[in-house]
Amino acid sequence: MLQPSALVNEAFVRLMGEAPVEWASRAHFFGFSARLMRRILIDFARAQETEKRGRRSTHLDLSVAGDVPAGESHPVDFIDLDHALNELAQLDPRQAQTVELRYFGGLENAEIAAVLGVSEPTAVRDWRVARAWLYHRLQSRLPQSHLPNDS
């Protein structure tokens, strides 16, 4: 099983192996790092799915709790999130970048604003709209048993 330290090692090795010789800007560096982390996690999720397919179909749970009690979560996987992010990029590339920088890159709103060259309120709005859209998109992919009860 891949350990968190191995994940960091993998990210570092790939960063060093694939990184451009020169960084054009901070935005270039952070954008590249966030994209790289996304790819590593998606690759690993795919490998896990392949490995487990012979035994039983499984999904990797993310902490995507919505209107559920604290400590519980709706199961969604990295692969679905990746697909949804690709769809979002078709609708609004900057919002998709915002999610990538925040969720995969670990940046805060002010840092995202600086990287993308927008104001912080704009970065916050982009995040809020993108998160709502992704939540709806991912929820619609869940099995009925995982959907919240609307009654």
């Binding site: 891949l2 350990q3 993310l62 902490s63 609708l91 969720y103 995969f104 998160r131 709502a132 859209w133």
Partner: protein, 89 residues
């Protein structure tokens, strides 16, 4: 959905998302928008209210650590006595 519809939905969502639920229909009527746009705005508002607590609040690396090494969830908190005589180590 087109990027333009999505952009308009996002703008209306930002303007209306904090309205009490009972005031939303009238506000959407007053906006004079298409049914498609109205549905998208309502979807975003509903999702925002459900997702506000914790959706994607963790960073990916935190989720990955939890997924990839679930056994670490059982580790004692920092400072927990775990020496032979319960002293901090």
């Amino acid at each position: 959905m087109t990027p333009e519809i999505y952009r308009q939905a996002g703008e209306l969502f930002e303007r209306l998302r904090q309205l009490p639920e009972g005031e939303l229909p009238a506000a959407l009527d007053a906006a004079g928008i298409s049914n498609e746009l109205r549905v998208e705005v309502l979807r975003l508002i509903e999702a925002d209210r459900k997702a506000a607590r914790s959706f994607l609040e963790n960073r990916a690396v935190e989720d990955a650590a939890r997924l990839l090494a679930p056994e670490t969830q059982g580790l004692p908190a920092a400072g927990t006595g775990c020496g032979r005589d319960g002293r901090r180590v």
